[in-house]
C-alpha cells in the first residue's frame, strides 16, 4: 500500500468533480423540490462527495479490505444510532397519550 502513488491527474479530476457537485447541490437547493425529497437529493450528493474523498484522497480505493471494513463500520454504527433513535421518535405518536386519568378526581398536592 505504501508503494501505490496516485497520479496527480487523478487528484485534479476528483477535485473538479467535487467542485462540480458542490455547484450542483447549491443549484438544486434553488429549485423547489417537494420535501422530503429535497433532503434526500442533498444527502445523496453529499454521500457522493464523501465517497470520492474517501476512495481517492484518503486512498481507501487502494487499500486493504480490513481498512475498508473499518471505514464502513464507522458509518454503519452511526446508522445504528440514527435508526434506533428514530424508531422511538417516529413512533411516539402511534399511541396517543391516555386520557383515562382525566375522569378520576385529582388530589391536589399538599
Amino acid at each position: 500500500m505504501s508503494g501505490h502513488i496516485v497520479p496527480q491527474k487523478t487528484y485534479f479530476t476528483i477535485f473538479a468533480i467535487l467542485i462540480g457537485l458542490t455547484v450542483l447541490t447549491t443549484w438544486v437547493a434553488s429549485v423547489h423540490i417537494e420535501p422530503p425529497w429535497n433532503t434526500w437529493v442533498a444527502l445523496a450528493i453529499a454521500v457522493c462527495k464523501a465517497t470520492l474523498v474517501i476512495l481517492f484522497f484518503m486512498h481507501v480505493k487502494y487499500t486493504s479490505n480490513l481498512t475498508r471494513i473499518a471505514v464502513v463500520a464507522g458509518f454503519f454504527w452511526l446508522a445504528i444510532l440514527l435508526t434506533l433513535t428514530l424508531s422511538d421518535i417516529l413512533t411516539r405518536t402511534w399511541i396517543p397519550p391516555s386520557t383515562a386519568w382525566q375522569t378520576t378526581t385529582v388530589v391536589s398536592p399538599r
Binding site: M1, V53, W77
Partner: protein
C-alpha cells in the same frame, strides 16, 4: 520510540515494536482510520440530535437556515475542497520524497484552512452576533430578522435550537480544523528539517486522513445547515 543508528549514520525510521516498515505503515494507516471511526461517532451524536429536531421542527429549521448566508457556506465548501486537494498532493510529495513540494503543499493547506476559519469567524459568526441570533448568549432576533421569522410562523425557541446546532456543529468542526492546522504546522516544521522520507512519512499521511475527514464532515454540514430553506 527507540531509534538506533544504521551503518550509514542515518536514523532508522523503524520503531522497535514493529518487524518491518510495511507493518509499521499498515499499522499507522489502519490506526488512523480507527481513530476516524471515533470521530464519525462523535459528530454522529450531533447529527442524530440534529436529525431528530429537524424532524420535529422542520419549519423552524428551514427559517433558521435562511438566517445563514449560503454564499459563505458554499465558498467555505470550495475552500475546504481545495485544501483537500493540496493535502492529497502533500502526502503524494512525501511518498515521493519531494521535500520542497511537500512543504509547499502543506503551507497551502494551512493557508486554505485559515481562510476557512477567517470566513467563518469574521464574516459569519460576527454577523450572527450583530444580528442577535447566537443561542444562549444573545438570542433575541430584531428588526428584519425578527420579521422574517414571524412571517414564517415559527416558534423562536425552535429557531434557537437550530442555531444551537449550527454553532455546536460548526464550532466543533472549527475546533477540529484548528487542531488540524496545528498538526500541519508541526508537520511543516518537521518537513523543513528533512525528517520525512519515502520510508517514513506516516505522520503526513495520518494527518492527511484527519484533514480529509474534517472536510467530509463539512461536506455534510453545508447542505444540512445552509441549504434547507433553499438559496435566495
Amino acid at each position: 520510540m527507540s531509534e538506533h543508528q544504521a551503518t550509514s549514520g542515518v536514523l532508522d525510521p523503524l520503531a522497535h515494536q514493529f518487524d518491518d516498515l510495511e507493518q509499521q505503515h499498515e499499522a499507522s494507516y489502519f490506526g488512523m482510520w480507527i481513530f476516524l471511526a471515533t470521530e464519525i461517532m462523535f459528530f454522529g451524536g450531533m447529527f442524530a440530535g440534529y436529525t431528530i429536531y429537524r424532524h420535529e421542527y422542520f419549519s423552524a429549521f428551514e427559517a433558521g437556515s435562511r438566517l445563514l448566508d449560503w454564499r459563505f457556506g458554499a465558498a467555505n465548501t470550495a475552500v475546504l475542497i481545495c485544501s483537500s486537494l493540496t493535502m492529497a498532493l502533500a502526502v503524494r510529495a512525501a511518498q515521493m520524497g519531494q521535500r520542497k513540494a511537500l512543504i509547499t503543499f502543506l503551507l497551502l493547506t494551512i493557508v486554505l484552512g485559515m481562510a476557512f476559519l477567517g470566513i467563518k469567524f469574521t464574516f459569519e459568526w460576527t454577523r450572527d452576533w450583530h444580528e442577535h441570533i447566537v443561542p444562549g448568549i444573545n438570542f433575541a432576533p430584531q428588526g428584519e430578522t425578527l420579521k422574517q421569522l414571524q412571517d414564517a410562523k415559527v416558534a423562536l425557541p425552535h429557531v434557537e435550537l437550530f442555531m444551537f446546532f449550527y454553532f455546536a456543529m460548526t464550532g466543533f468542526h472549527a475546533l477540529h480544523m484548528i487542531v488540524g492546522i496545528g498538526l500541519l504546522t508541526v508537520l511543516t516544521i518537521m518537513a523543513n528539517q528533512g525528517r520525512f522520507s519515502p520510508q517514513r512519512f506516516n505522520p503526513v499521511e495520518g494527518s492527511g486522513l484527519y484533514w480529509h475527514f474534517v472536510d467530509i464532515v463539512w461536506i455534510f454540514l453545508f447542505p444540512l445547515l445552509y441549504l434547507i430553506g433553499g438559496t435566495h
